[in-house]
């Protein structure tokens, strides 16, 4: 009973873990703030303390890659056969046959709607004049997807069979999903040399995890009694697996196939940045660099057309139970054959199609006129967001508030006043039994004053460890600190903070905007009817294409990158918020209504708390999406890790590419686990 007499442990017992964590963070922050001017190593990690880790990684990885290079080159030779073959088939087949084939396939899968989609989509591709480039892209997808399906399926089945490796496989899939797409490319480039095979293998590697995940999930979700019935029927393990479990999991596995296809397409297009295979992604990049936004948009729309066709058809395959009359499909193909034969000598080369070029020119012209007319307004938006939003977040109020932007100069007295204000407000909150809230307010003000990119490293480490401790316990706090330390040691910390700032700002904006839109969609069916196709579309479009519209209006720069990230990452926030808010059990709503609550009271008191875990999961997705897009956005001017990865790709610097990629993955993993931890805690609190 000595502990009760000890005043320190008595005080600790009264503090919640959240308050304890916040208190420690505030104390460390204060120390850094006070001692920072005298001890420079507190604010910036001294260069002398960094290990040349990137070089080591580079040397090690290069040695390893060189060792397996002969095998890799052999493998690449083997892959060249199906690639060349697919290229030849798709390139040499007369276009009417392919258009007819896509239409027929659409019919067989989903009837008139899908047939129309196939026909319209491919006709658009044809009319755009990008037929040959599209077929090159498609050939890559056609070879990489079977590889990814086999790889992912095998991983999923093996993880299901051998429970002992399941945890390891899950962890590996997590990492594979968080390592940025560009980071895959550098080592592959070294292994396989320039050329389409790199894109092929990168997309196979990138597309395998969703397949593996869905196979695992599907097999796990097969009803226990169905598995037992297969056992009791006397099936061998292989019979159980292939005759019962896999067919029973078919619809989940088809979801995996759908995601696998989309990931492969996305990666093939991203892989275009290494150049050399004259595909549609390269076309987008080229026209974007030449600022031919009309053409760029056209090429981007071709990609979107492919994405939509592939996505909707494979999704229909997962859902559709009805079978459509195959005779119609055969007739469509027959028609295409007849058309090809009859017009054989008159078939124009698809490259000569320029039906849509006037449109592209018109877009260019219109855009030129628009930016000329509204240039000042667009600049005002951009500068306003930069000066009053992004810059203070990045470098802090004391550096960002300048005479020529804000109209006055930030002084030390203002800093003091701000801190004093925060302290008073924090104290008031603490006196009202909201100690944690008060402490968090002080922390937030401190971060705003200093700027995320200038945060002292002890503060970042402590804050992360404290959050990790609250979310997942001591073990995860140690892991998170250790991972951050590796970033510090490798000298990438400043860049990591820059990445953190941009993705943090984007996530914050997404949470705010997406949350509000989600709320609106939850209360108004009309709003959801409008937002739903937009969300579907935004989730179908490959990452790369997001860059085009923001570039068109806001040129290269951080703000454009910010917008592109927001556009892409806002979708999960909207979806999850709405889903969480509308999936409250009917009985709870009825109970609230019977108690006399108004719609908004029900929303605030019943639906929102119930939806909290779901919304947190949405936030988690938004964070991961933001990190994924951050790297792509490096193409249009961001600083930080994304830029390093992109530079490494250009210089074939494996060490930098891998280290920066790993740092990015570390940030994403920590953020992911933190939010998951909080969501899990909310779910437990609600007894879900």
């Amino acid at each position: 009973m000595t502990t009760a007499a000890d005043p320190v442990s008595a005080a600790r017992a009264r503090l919640t873990p959240g308050a304890q964590a916040a208190l420690v963070t505030v104390l460390v922050g204060c120390v850094c703030l006070l001692l920072g001017p005298n001890l420079p190593w507190l604010t910036a990690w001294p260069a002398a303390w960094t290990a040349p880790a990137t070089q080591w990684v580079g040397v090690g990885a290069e040695w390893f890659l060189n060792a397996i290079k002969p095998a890799a080159r052999g493998f690449s030779e083997v892959l060249r056969f199906p690639m060349d073959w697919a290229n030849f088939v798709l390139g040499a087949t007369p276009w009417p046959l392919l258009v007819g084939g896509a239409t027929a396939l659409g019919w067989a899968i989903g009837g008139v709607r899908m047939a129309m989609l196939g026909f319209a989509g491919l006709s658009f591709v044809l009319a755009s004049g990008y037929w040959a480039q599209s077929m090159n892209t498609l050939a890559l997808v056609a070879v990489s997807v079977p590889l990814a399906l086999l790889l992912g399926g095998a991983i999923g089945i093996l993880a299901n069979e051998f429970t002992r490796i399941r945890g390891a496989v899950q962890a590996m899939l997590d990492v594979m999903q968080t390592v940025p797409t560009f980071a895959y490319l550098t080592p592959l480039l070294l292994l396989f040399g320039f050329g389409p095979v790199v894109g092929l293998i990168a997309s196979a590697i990138y597309a395998a995890p969703p397949m593996a995940r869905n196979v695992m999930l599907g097999l796990e979700r097969v009803d226990a009694e169905i598995k037992e019935a297969a056992v009791m029927s006397g099936g061998t393990r292989l019979q159980q697996l292939f005759q019962v479990e896999i067919p029973s999991a078919a619809s989940q596995i088809m979801v995996g196939v759908n995601q696998c296809l989309m990931a492969a397409l996305s990666m093939v297009i991203i892989a275009a940045v290494i150049g050399g295979f004259d595909d549609i992604g390269w076309e987008v990049l080229l026209t974007m660099r030449k600022a031919q936004f009309g053409q760029s948009l056209l090429a981007g729309l071709v990609i979107v057309a492919f994405a939509v066709i592939i996505d909707r058809m494979s999704a229909a395959l997962a859902l559709e139970r009805r079978r459509y009359d195959p005779r119609v499909a055969y007739s469509l193909i027959g028609l295409a054959v007849v058309f090809t034969v009859v017009f054989w000598s008159h078939l124009p080369d698809p490259a000569t199609f320029t039906l849509l070029d006037p449109l592209a020119a018109a877009v260019d012209h219109g855009l030129g006129a628009f930016t000329a007319d509204n240039g000042a307004r667009l600049d005002a938006i951009k500068n306003g967001a930069m000066f009053y939003g992004l810059l203070p977040l990045k470098i802090g109020l004391d550096d960002a508030v300048l005479d020529f932007t804000w109209g006055f100069q930030w002084t030390a007295a203002m800093s003091l006043a701000l801190y004093a204000l925060a302290l008073v407000a924090g104290l008031l909150l603490a006196l009202r039994e909201r100690l944690t809230g008060g402490l968090l307010l002080v922390i937030a003000v401190g971060m705003l004053e200093t700027g995320i990119a200038n945060l002292p490293w002890p503060f970042v480490l402590t804050a992360t460890a404290a959050l990790a401790w609250v979310a997942q316990g001591r073990g995860f706090a140690a892991i998170a600190t250790g991972l951050l330390l590796t970033i510090l040691l490798s000298g990438l910390f400043e860049r990591a903070l820059l990445s953190l700032y941009l993705s943090g700002a984007a996530v914050f904006a997404c949470a705010l905007v997406g949350g509000c839109i989600g709320l609106l969609c939850a209360v108004s069916p009309l709003a959801w009817r409008i937002m739903r196709p937009i969300c579907d579309m935004l989730q179908t479009i490959p990452l790369f294409v997001f860059l085009i519209p923001v570039l068109m209006f806001f040129q290269i720069g951080e703000f454009s990158a910010f917008l592109a990230i927001c556009l892409y990452a806002v979708v999960p926030m909207i979806r999850y918020t709405r889903h969480g808010l509308i999936s409250t059990p009917g009985e709870m709503i009825e109970a609230a209504t019977a108690s006399g609550a108004t719609t908004w009271q029900t929303m605030r008191d019943v639906r929102a708390p119930y939806a909290a875990p779901t919304i947190l999961l949405g936030l988690n997705q938004t964070i991961l999406y933001a990190f994924a897009m951050l790297v792509i956005a490096a193409l249009i001017g961001t600083t930080g890790l994304g830029q390093s990865i992109y530079l490494a790709l250009g210089q074939a610097d494996v060490g930098l590419g891998l280290s920066a990629g790993a740092s990015m993955a570390v940030l994403a993993l920590i953020a992911d686990r933190l939010v998951q931890g909080f969501a899990e805690e909310r779910r437990r609190a609600l007894g879900l």
């Binding site: 009803d223 009694e225 169905i226 037992e228 019935a229 297969a230 056992v231 009791m232 029927s233 006397g234 099936g235 061998t236 019979q239 005759q243 019962v244 067919p247 029973s248 078919a250």
Partner: protein, 353 residues
Amino acid sequence: MSSDTAPAITCRHVWQVFGPDSEPALAQALAQSGGDAAAAAVALRDKGLIPAVQDATFEVAEGELFVIMGLSGSGKSTLVRCISHLLDPTGGEIRIHGEDIVTASKQRLIELRRNKLGMVFQHFGLFPHMTVAQNVAYPLRVQGVKQAARRAKAQTVIDLVGLSGREDTYPRELSGGQRQRVGIARSLVADCEVWFLDEPFSALDPLIRRQLQDEFLQIRANLNTTIVFITHDINEALKLADRIAIMRDGRIVQIGTPTEIVLNPVDDYVREFAKDVARGRHARVASVMHSGDGGGHVRGPDDPGLRRNMTLDAALAKCMDLYEPVPVWDDSGMCVGTVHPAELAAALQVDEA
């Protein structure tokens, strides 16, 4: 000992403990308690393990319909999964027709399931991607029986369960009762000798349940299988069973015929179950009569004609207006004892203790 004199199923000290390293933990707990099952179970629980089945010992005779009854969580489904070896029991010995199935090889287990064992599941366990006929024929398919032969065999059991005409529909198109008929047909298609039914009718409406119970008894009358039937419904147990084992918290608390369970519950737990039961429909005259003292009785013209295996309800209806002991006859017409109508009436009373 040859296998045909052995009981169909023998369970000796069967334990199923869930949790990490359950096998050494069980051995240690039993060693410490000196073989006392209750003490060992407490020790296991204290370690955070879950003793779902504790020291189950019983035999099921050839052709017997053995019902295991208990509330949810009492371990009855776990026990049946041990016997059918869907779960590997943590301790004890299980023999089917004398053959130890705990130590049987994987290959032998597959053979046993193909030739000897059949099982029906609570939620049917139908394969969603197969038609009714394919579902039913699946146990034959895994044995490599040719398509035509297995279709013909499947057809006979489909007819038996009254699903003729639905052969080519998918499970999702059937009602719950029809689905369970498919489950029953599938478990019978390979001519099993031991038939496990895990709460087969619990997920069904009361009306459909009664209908399927009756059909089940009919099917059973034409088969010569040994049956282990799991249920949480005392009335179902009493209606179907030759013998009933009642489980509570992983232990078997009483094994007996329906009459024994109703009239002589061993503890309050069983008594609680028996309370809900209309005793008159399950208890027989033999259980309340005074046997042997009817030697001098001659069957008179106004004799109500009580027989030993009559239910109490039926007996009471025949002698309601009599006030003295009534002779009880056996099937061959011999007087085997007497019973007083008041005793019959008293036996029907539910004792409120």
